[in-house]
Amino acid sequence: MSKKVGITGNEAIAQAMRIANPDVCGAYPITPATDIMQRFTSFVANCEVKTEMILTESEHSAMSACIGSSVAGGRVATASAAQGIALMWEMLFIASGLRLPIVMGVANRALSAPLNIHGDHSDGMGMRDCGWIHFYSENAQEGFDNMLMAFRIAEHMDIRLPVMVGLDGFITSHSIETMEYVDDETGRAFVGEFKAVNPLLDIKNPKSYGPLILTDMYMEYRKAHDNVMAKVPGVVLEVAAEFEKISGRKYGLFESYRLDDAEIALVVMSSAAGTTKDVIDTYRAKGVKVGLLKPRLYRPFPYEQMGEALKHCKAVAVLDRADCFGGSYGPLFADVSNALYHYAQRPIMINKIYGLGGRDYMPDQAEYTINELIQIAKDGKVKSIKEYIGVRE
């Protein structure tokens, strides 16, 4: 087993890509993900990978290059964030609709305007219904592990879908943290050889990609996509079990922290989940039965499993690092509510919007939320379902 190292989240993603050794990377730089490709291109320049780098003139072209290379029959990876993902949006649907196993590392960042380069989940949430598989990572370790597993899941013969692996821009992407690599040999054996499905470069068997599919067949393809998405959680767990064998690190669809006997719970994604865990420990020491659920696989959303994990709680707070501008609730809140709606007896739910544009999520915000949950569990009174926290009133 490799020894512990102190590295940034971006380096962790780049190292996982190096181990996976993609045939092609189409990329365009954007803060805070630039660093991923900057490091990766040095691996290319030093012949540590056999990757063909395609440096494009925009993210739309970067994803187009990835799509072309994937259709041609290669293992493909890229990285992006924020406005870059927004510009890719059209091509994201094409990547998933063509069932291409492209893997993309994302340093999650806020969207303009106002212009902001810092960490929040607006970019990932903007692409949440593009037909991709989404993972969110708490720290550099999870970023590395998720990225390595992403190749296996994307390229699984029952799946063949693109995968996004997110970690928090700057908070995780640029911080040095302790983590442990999987050594190259073990990692390469785990990821395995790429197996092309219907490659265009197999010129002895000509084929066509991207036909016009009209009213008579379009719904059949969409239903097929929905069906393959339903198979993803099973494959995610299967790959996680194999990964545990080589790394000793255990992963599920989501992480439950002190949740089994909890009366109140917080649902928090990515780096803020770690801070919340420390606060939960202090409340547990005082005898408060509070727990945490940290989503990992965000798309497809594990509705049933999450509903089962949370249904016993009296009150649940969902913390969103993005907002839906429909005068409605945050995206994660909407998903968790869906997961619980079908239970006759379900927790009272509140939604906190936090940390937008990299605003620090401090322990006192977790404390504030837990205190409110304690009160709701006691008297059932909700002052407001949705609230911005850490904002000047």
Partner: protein, 191 residues
């Protein structure tokens, strides 16, 4: 050593403060500990005040937010003492480590440090000029922090500076930095 040590660095852009925090984190890895090193990203301009943080712990580090209550406050540029309150949130037994020619007692008065708090000074800028030839106080500050915090040995710190700077710089500059770390360790004044 306490099981969780939190450090706040105050510097100005271009003084190598972020690098110092990273080198310290890397050196602390040797004991099998968990480390974090991260700057506060603002407008990244030479001369702009900046903060950087370290957490070093025997347990898994899960906090992902700035350090609020540091046990060590490292001031890489003494002119910051007039611009910002570097004592904010510091623990009652915190140590302030300040790069200055001034006497530690004078600095203690300026900081209005509590009797339970330590005030340590080192003339890191002069050491840097004499050893590296540039006013880059980060290397001597690593030496001073090593001594005051007791987190790592001087040998650990020297090895890590060699490793971190070895990738980028000539042997002359590495030797200068190593000498700077050693002098930063040796020339500590407390009051």
């Amino acid at each position: 050593m306490a099981e969780n040590v939190e450090i706040r660095w105050h510097g100005r852009g271009g003084q190598g403060t972020v690098t110092a925090a990273k080198v310290l984190a890397d050196a602390c890895l040797s004991g099998g500990r968990d480390v974090q090193a991260f700057p506060e990203y603002g407008p990244e301009r030479a001369g702009a005040p900046l903060r950087a943080y370290n957490r070093i712990s025997d347990k898994e580090l899960r906090m992902h937010c700035p350090v609020k209550n540091p046990g060590f406050v490292v001031v890489v540029d003494a002119t910051l003492l007039d611009a910002i309150d570097v004592t904010e949130g510091a623990l009652d037994n915190a140590a302030f480590i300040v790069n200055t020619k001034k006497d530690p007692k004078e600095v203690r008065a300026k900081l209005k440090a509590k009797p339970t708090q330590r005030v340590v000074t080192v003339d890191a800028s002069t050491i840097a000029l004499e050893t590296i030839g540039r006013a880059m106080p980060n290397a001597p500050m690593i030496g001073t922090v090593t001594r005051v915090s007791g987190l790592i040995t001087l040998e650990n710190a020297v090895e890590d500076v060699k490793k971190s700077f070895g990738k980028k710089f000539s042997q002359k500059i590495i030797d200068g930095n190593v000498e700077a770390v050693k002098r930063g360790y040796a020339e500590v004044k407390e009051g």
